[in-house]
């Protein structure tokens, strides 16, 4: 893989890190309460809104935010654009962490988690009509795939260990993985293609409860494309943040071409979104400026910001701050589309309402905090980030 990646090093327990630990700790305490008292006591979910923040954000939006590994792997391994290779490890790391958090969120959200092991095991009971089953199986498998993809980077920490047995064992495993990894990576491309599109199919079954601006047979395709644009956006943002936080020199040329690719995919997404409305004869709904019409335009507006930025200011395309802002809007647009499809544009009837309860929000924040803690720990101790350190570059 990427031999030039090195651990960032440095002190782990900094001030912000301790703050993150406190947030994760609060979530842990709240989770004890959730499992003891049930979902009604700790969340605002109800029979009308059975999917709340944890599903709509942590799982559905979170796993799309974690599609950086998928998006970069398409470029590097399928389209053979080797220049993006330094992005693979950090992208796979955030994907592995994001999907793991997504999996944990499912465990927290389901009402009867003591039976959840049966979903992957009871294959003779699998309901092949269920899009959610497809999502559950694929995400479970993908979490394993991501950690296997990441494992060479983790093992490299010990391949030159002073304990000969450990060094030998890790080297052998490492080399074996490097040779066979291609079939795992292929799986790492297939699984997100399947479950990210199926996350769209899931909400098709909401029928008339999902507003017609969102309910369409194109949901699987739109969810897949959205995962790709969000994946690229996150990689750009993450590279910019990591390079400043860990004093790495960012490869702006590489990020800039990634930005171009993302703009292309965004154009496809927007075109399908509009053409789909035309094909269904629902274009008029766009012009109804109720909550839903407004949200639709907010989505389109956010989507078009990075596109307009790209076309309006070609000279800024490789400016890191500019790309960061563009990527931010790209990610926000994709996130809003998913959040709307699962929650805001979902309307079970007049008698129901939902706004996440405080413990729900704190648990989500705590899980994000734990994810960032794990990211910082791994990046500081394991060879993930590429590029020269600013210090080395100056010398």
């Amino acid at each position: 893989m990427n031999a030039s990646a090195t651990p960032a090093g440095g002190k782990l327990w900094t001030g912000p890190y301790k703050l993150l630990a406190v947030m994760a700790g609060i979530a842990a305490v709240l989770l004890i309460w959730r499992f003891a008292a049930g979902l009604g006591a700790t969340t605002a979910m109800n029979d009308g809104y059975p999917f709340g923040l944890w599903i709509a954000f942590d799982v559905v939006t979170g796993t799309a935010l974690a599609c950086g590994g998928y998006a970069v792997a398409i470029l590097v391994y399928v389209l053979n654009k080797g220049r993006y290779h330094p992005l693979v490890r950090p992208a796979i790391l955030t994907s592995a962490l994001g999907y793991t958090i997504g999996g944990l969120s499912v465990l927290i959200d389901v009402g009867r988690p003591w039976l959840i092991y049966r979903v992957p095991i009871y294959f003779w009971r699998w309901n092949l009509d269920s899009a959610l089953l497809e999502v559950a199986l694929c995400i479970t498998a993908y979490i394993f795939v991501l950690w296997i993809e990441l494992s060479p980077a983790l093992l490299e920490r010990w391949t030159k260990s002073e304990r000969p047995k450990l060094a030998r064992f890790t080297s052998i495993t490492h080399d074996f993985l490097e040779k066979t990894l291609i079939w795992v990576i292929a799986l790492g491309l297939l699984l997100p293609t399947m479950h990210q599109s199926s996350l769209g199919s899931v909400m098709m079954l909401a029928g008339t409860k999902l507003h017609l601006l969102w309910h369409t047979a194109s949901l699987p395709l739109l969810f897949l494309l959205g995962a790709v644009t969000m994946g690229y956006g996150v990689v750009v943002m993450e590279s910019a943040l990591a390079s400043s936080a860990f004093k790495r020199e960012p490869d702006t040329r590489m990020l800039s071409s990634l930005y171009s690719v993302a703009v292309g995919v965004t154009w496809i997404f927007v075109s399908i979104r509009i053409l789909d409305l035309i094909a269904r004869g629902r274009l008029g709904l766009m012009l109804t400026f109720d909550l839903y019409g407004t949200l639709f335009w907010l989505e389109i507006g956010l989507l078009m910001i990075p596109v307009v930025m790209y076309h309006a200011q070609p000279s800024m395309r490789s400016n890191l701050g500019f790309m960061f802002r563009a990527a931010f809007f790209m990610v926000a647009a994709g996130a809003l589309y998913r959040f709307n499809t699962y929650l805001v544009a979902f309307n079970p009837g007049e008698n129901w309402s939902y706004f996440p309860a405080v413990p729900e929000i704190l648990v989500t924040l705590g899980l994000i905090a734990a994810e960032i803690m794990a990211y910082v720990y791994i990046v500081k101790r394991f060879p993930i980030l590429g590029g020269r350190t600013a210090v080395a570059a100056a010398a």
Partner: protein, 301 residues
Amino acid sequence: MLKSVAVAGATALVKASPVQAREKKTAPSNAVGMLYDTTRCIGCRACVAACKEANGDPADTRTPGMEAYDAPPDLNDCTRTIVKQFNDGDQQSFVKMQCMHCVDPACAAACMLGALQKREFGVVTWEPDLCIGCRYCQVACPFNVPKFEWESATPRIVKCEMCSDRLAEGKEPACCEACPREAVIFGERAELLRIAHQRIKQHPDRYVPKVYGERELGGTQVLVLSHVSFDKIGLMHEDEESVPHLQQTIQHGIYKGFVAPAALYAVLGGVMVRNRLVNRTNGNGDSPADVMEATKKEARA
């Protein structure tokens, strides 16, 4: 390269998924059901009480100001059927609400391990050992029927199962047995449809000329006759296509025989192996190996 991938992928997809709508589901030949008639219902709620007794569901004393009574405001975690009153000017009607036992139920299409599915007599029942409490059935149900025990740490899904245990003993559902006016009756679905149409024919002035559930959302096994328009009593769906129909057509189109995913996997793996070989032999300046080499050289310099 991109082109060859696209062509291979598209070919695999086209071969795997002749995009044809899946067959419309029909009720099983021994389908049973209920026929509820608003003109006969006096709103006595004997059915609600009988239902609670038969299912062992507790009284709902949570409604503010009504703590002394079993006064559920709607179907909920301890109420599988309820009688509501709808007023619209001088028109009023009672309506008994419960699971409609759809011919093509969205909840069953949603359910991962088939905890909810059509079982004996086409009745949709819930199997606790197969339910992980994901609540996708609640998202999917067009009538908002399945309820979840939010206040429990070990929650169940609660819905009308047409007293399937009583049916097994040859008895009729508790609500039908309890009804003093035969406003809700039990029987074979085909027979109930015949009775319903006969009532409309005999008293065309009394009824909206439609048996709700004959065709709505692909048909239901609980049928309703009404003297007020159906949307006023909460039965607003007029579409005759079942909720799962379109989604299942697409889902099964993509995944038919698992050919498309398997083909995609083979293509992806093949492309990657090929890329590796190409990069090794002709040293494509863009390959991961070369970038690594260049970075190393740079580091040495």
